[in-house]
Every structure is written in structure tokens, then in C-alpha cells.
Amino acid sequence: MSKMTMVQAINLALRQEMANDDRVVLLGEDIGRDGGVFRVTEGLIDAFGPERVLDTPLAESAIAGMAVGMAIYGLRPVCEIQFSGFAYHCFHQLESHAARLRWRSQGRLSVPMVLRAPYGGGVRALEHHSESREAYWAHTPGLKTVIPSGPRTARALMVSAIRDPDPVVFYEAKGLYRAYREEVPDEEEIIPIGRSQIVREGGDLTMIAYGAMVRPALEAAEELRASDGVETEVIDLLTIAPLDDTLILQSVTRTGRAVVIHEAPRSFGPGAEIVTRLMEGAFYYLEAPIARVTGYDLIIPYFSREKWYIPNVRRIVDAARQTLTS
């Protein structure tokens, strides 16, 4: 056990998987000598050599497309896309090939690759560096979309992502990279993909969040207890797609009230699917309309205004109170 940032925790997962399995190779821009612009791959080129840590030329389409080929061959490529805002050239390769090769080949071929990318705002970054567009991937049949909420979940999910037989898009909230440290066990720890977690128990209200939004949800829950005496259950989705609705349905069946939180734009965002699942599976238990606290239907503004875009504790508390009083 040692206390790690999310950057270190993902590094640990990559390092251990590479040590255990020579099929695991990394490719991406600046991931070698520079250790990645966020240092997630720091030291891996020294440990495993340039044959397994490829500092690629600048071409996201080639990174993803080459990984498809490597994965078909039987390797376990892990791509780093420097910022999720530059992953759109990968979309073509993932949508047209990675996500559908198993299906097209009638189960004969598969593409066990991982596409890692930092996403989200809050770090005063330049244009194109702060978006949360996980819905693009989550909407794609055949892909898995995973978003950890901190160091420990990042490590445990990365191991699963690398071992997964299907392509996984792994979004890392860059606002969490160095936000805090958490105990991460040295020995192997795995969270299966497709399983959400209850991170706080409560019987009055359910909050559903993932990635960087789990912390403000927990803070809001704390505030609601302190000032309103309300007990909030907080569920961390961890996997966006395929969405695991067992826990959220069980929880909302008990609490009758729900607030869904994400940084991504509101319309057609992951919240739309989550709310629909609740409507389909827990409608008769609902005591109030389900609330959404999300980014606006905007491109996240340049950083001087981004704090007004990103959901915050106050908005979550307000939405919760509305849910509780209606």
C-alpha cells in the first residue's frame, strides 16, 4: 500500500501489466522520453524499452488504426491520446473497425485494445483541452467506455481494461490526475468493467456520478446531511457503457429520488440514458422527477469562465433539495 496520485496509480497498472504480459505495448505521442504530457507513462520506456513504448509520429488515426492491427495479431496495445479533444481521428478506426470486428468476423477476430485519454475541465487549459465527450464513445455499440473516479479505481479498472477481450475507451479526468492521493495496494486489485459502486450509503436520495463529478457529489451529500439531515447514497458508475443499472435501480427503488451528475453537455449526454433506465426500471418507486446537473449544451468556455460551466457542489445541493421537496 502506498499513497498515490491518479497519475501514479495508472502508471502502476501499466507497469505491472507490462511486466506480467509481454503482449502489452504502449503507443502515443510523447509517451516515451517525456513520459507523456501528464507523466502517466513516466519511466516505462526505461523499464521496457522503445520496442514496447512507442513514441509515435503525430497522427491519432494511425495510433488507433495501428493498435487495431496489433490487437488483431494478439497483442494488447494501450494507446495514449494526448487529450480527448484530439481523439476524433481515432473515432473512425474505433467505430468502423475496433468496435465491430468481432461481430463482422463472426467471433473469429477481436480487438483487445485500450484507448486512454485525459478528458474534462478545471485545469485552466487551452481550447480543445477540456471537453467531456464520453457520450460519443458510449453511443458506439461494441465499445466499452470506462471512467475512473480516483487513483484506486483508475488502477483497478486499467488492469481490467488491458485484460478485456474487447476495445475499451478509458477516459481519465485530468482534473483528478494530481488532485489528491489515495492508498493503492501494491498487489493486484481489479474492478470488473461493467460494475458500478456505492461510495456512500443513504436512504433518502440517490446521486449518480462518475469521473471528476464523484467528489463534488460526495461533498454535496455531506452538506445535505449537515444542513438538511438528508442521507444521500452516492453511486460511482465507473463504466459508462455498457451501463450497469443494477445498483442504481436498487438504490432508487429504495430512495425514490435521484440526481444524475456529469460534466458532459446535457442533451444526449450519459444522463439521458441513466434517467431513462430509471424510468424504465423504477418508475413506480419514484417520488419526484429525476434531476440532472450537467454541463450546458455548449462547448466548454475558455478557462476564465469554465468554473461556471462545470457542475459544482452548490448546483448539486440545489438540485437535490428540489428533488427532495417536490
Binding site: 516515451g32 513514441d55 487549459a125 475558455y302
Partner: protein
């Protein structure tokens, strides 16, 4: 014959007119008036000094991350100096000196790098695109602009900029191919500054030059000393003339160097040697051009010093104006502006919700 040579005759030229030791090739020296030479020097100097000032501002926390241009003033100014106001300028993100020359205000650059969308405004009448951060993506826009300019039977040309790293992107190759197929009036200017963040150009491509990639698409390519403003100017003048007269596109590779960090978030000590940087610093385009101007009798040292004072005053005034303006630009609701020509109802509703939140003490968030 089953196996014979195909005469692919493309040869590649390299051009240098004023080298780092001050040697001048008088036959190739472009004929620029005294006034034009001084304008060119001033634009390079302004680019340099403003860049240095931005770095100070960034280090003091008064602006956010930005990509310094230091050392690349000749590569961009020599090229863009050939454009007319009626031509189009399509930058990447490391062309600040060229942007300023084209008429972008220093103030708007400060606003932009300090996270204000207002810094993106392209004033009416200017035929410049905003900077493009997704590497290589803008190359295609230049081709479309060029095609449209032809369609409208104008003599406008388009000049687009990109780095060495961008030449690995599919967009670059697709853009060059389309430009050649449609013979669009585009000048492609590659600022080969040797690095794409931590990746040296030698690992970006397996070819000895970037200029030769032009030949794969059937257009002329030329490699120039990108720290020699006269050479860049001359090569771009030829390419601009070719484009304007219907001769189609050209690729120019300016061999230069990114003297500073990639952006202020980068630490180049992790991946390159100080000696390499020091070597390139000796090839600094500014003193080289200043010495030329003095030797030629275009300007005396005191005149250049006076120019420097003027430049510094201009920068100071812009910083003051920008900081004053930013103090007035707080309104969060402005983020809803300009997404669509007409705001859809759901966005109106979201904007109203934020307005209510602000009226209702939303300042708390501000104070966090």
C-alpha cells in the same frame, strides 16, 4: 521492358541568402524598399518582444498556457510578408508574429491566452482564420479557401502554416493532394522547428526533408533556411506568384528551431540538450537581419534602438488595455453567445437558469 526507370525528375532545392555569419548572396537578395525592410524587421521585433512579455505574464500567473514563438520570427514573417490584405491567412498556433502582422491586436492575443473567448474575435474585413490547435486540421481549410477563391475568379491566394509534427497527420497529406489535384492557389508553409513537443523531426519522418513530400503530390517543394528572413521571403514570393498566376500550390519547408519550451506547460530539459539549444541560438534570425540592415545602410543602430523603444511602448499599452478589458469581461453568461446564429430554446432555458443562479448569489462559486 519489364523493368525500367521511370523518369521522375523532381529535384529539390535548398535556399539560403543571408547566412548566420552575415554572408549575403547578392544575386538572390530580394529587392525590398527601405520602408518595407524596416516594416519587416519591426514585425519580427514586435513578435519577439511580445513573446517575451507573454512569457513573463504567464510566469506571473497573469495569463494561462501559451506556445512561445521565439526563434521562428523569420520563418513566419518572411512568408506572410508576401500576402496582400485580400489574401487569406490560415495559421496553426505558433505564428503569433504573423498574426500580429496581419492585424490581430496584441490585446486579443492576451485575452485569448488568458481564457477569454473574446480573444477569438476576428475583426470585420480581415481574411484570417483563428489559430487551429488540432494539429494539421487547418491545412484542409486552406485548400477549400483556395478552391473558393478560384471559383469566384479572384486573384486571392491562401497561405497556411503548420509544424513538422503536422506533416505526419493525415490531414496534411490529404490537403496537399487535394490542393494539387485541384491546382488551388495555396502556399503551404511548414515551420520545421525540429521538435513536436518531445519528438524530434528525425523520428517524425523517415525522409531526409519535409519539402520532398511535395513531390508525392505533384507540386513543387523547396527547403529554406527558416532563420534567414530573406530566403524565406524569396521562396514565398515565388510560391505566391505561382499561386496567383494559376500555377498551383507549393510546399515550403522553413528549417528553424523552437528555442523555447513547446508551451509553458512543457519542460524541454526532459528530452533535449542545452547544447543543441545554444547552437541554434547562435543562428537567431533577429540579429542576423539587424546586421544586414545596418550593413546595407537601411538603418543605424540608434534607429533600431528607437524602434525597439516604440515596440516596447506598444506592448506595454496593449498589456494595460488587455488587463483593463479583462477586468470588465467577467459575465459568465457570455459563454452562451455565438454557438448558433440563433439560440435554440433549450439553450435559452439553460442561459436563464444560470442567470437566475447568478442573481441568487451565484457569486459564492466565484469566491471559491
Amino acid at each position: 521492358m519489364p523493368r525500367s526507370d521511370i523518369a521522375v525528375t523532381d529535384s529539390l532545392e535548398s535556399l539560403s541568402i543571408l547566412d548566420e555569419h552575415g554572408n549575403l548572396d547578392r544575386d538572390l537578395e530580394p529587392q525590398l524598399s527601405k520602408a518595407r525592410l524596416l516594416e519587416l524587421y519591426r514585425a519580427m521585433l514586435l513578435g519577439r518582444r511580445f513573446d517575451e512579455r507573454l512569457l513573463d505574464l504567464q510566469r506571473q500567473g497573469r495569463i494561462g498556457t501559451f506556445p512561445p514563438i521565439k526563434g521562428q520570427e523569420a520563418a513566419q514573417m518572411g512568408a506572410v510578408f508576401n500576402l496582400r490584405p485580400s489574401d487569406w491567412f490560415v495559421p496553426a498556433f505558433r505564428e503569433t508574429a504573423a498574426e500580429i502582422w496581419r492585424g490581430r491586436s496584441l490585446e486579443s492575443i492576451i485575452l485569448y491566452f488568458n481564457g477569454f473567448n473574446e480573444g477569438g474575435l476576428v475583426p470585420e474585413g480581415r481574411k484570417d482564420l483563428p489559430i487551429a490547435i488540432p494539429v494539421g486540421s487547418q491545412v484542409l481549410h486552406a485548400v477549400g479557401l483556395g478552391w473558393a477563391a478560384r471559383y469566384r475568379q479572384t486573384d486571392e491566394i491562401v497561405m497556411t502554416f503548420f509544424g513538422d509534427g503536422a506533416t505526419s497527420a493525415g490531414d496534411f497529406h490529404e490537403g496537399l493532394n487535394f490542393a494539387a489535384v485541384y491546382q488551388t492557389p495555396v502556399v503551404f508553409v511548414c515551420q520545421n522547428n525540429q521538435w513536436a513537443i518531445s519528438v524530434p523531426v528525425s523520428r517524425q519522418t523517415h525522409t531526409p526533408t519535409l519539402a520532398q513530400k511535395a513531390h508525392a503530390y505533384g507540386m513543387p517543394g523547396i527547403r529554406v533556411d527558416g532563420n534567414d528572413v530573406l530566403a524565406v521571403y524569396a521562396a514565398a514570393a515565388e510560391a505566391a506568384e505561382r499561386a496567383r498566376s494559376g500555377g498551383g500550390p507549393t510546399l515550403i519547408e522553413c528549417v528553424t528551431y523552437r528555442v523555447m519550451m513547446h508551451t509553458t506547460a512543457d519542460d524541454p530539459k526532459r528530452y533535449r540538450s542545452e547544447e543543441e539549444v545554444a547552437q541554434w541560438q547562435q543562428r537567431d534570425p533577429l540579429p542576423r537581419f539587424a546586421a544586414y540592415l545596418q550593413q546595407k545602410g537601411t538603418a543605424t543602430e540608434p534607429q533600431l534602438a528607437e524602434m525597439e523603444t516604440g515596440v516596447m511602448e506598444e506592448i506595454q499599452a496593449a498589456v494595460d488595455a488587455a488587463e483593463k478589458r479583462m477586468g470588465e469581461l467577467g459575465d459568465p453568461l457570455a459563454m452562451f453567445d455565438h454557438l448558433y446564429a440563433e439560440m435554440p430554446p433549450q439553450l435559452e432555458a439553460q442561459k436563464s437558469a444560470l442567470a437566475r443562479e447568478l442573481a441568487d448569489g451565484g457569486k459564492e462559486v466565484d469566491d471559491e
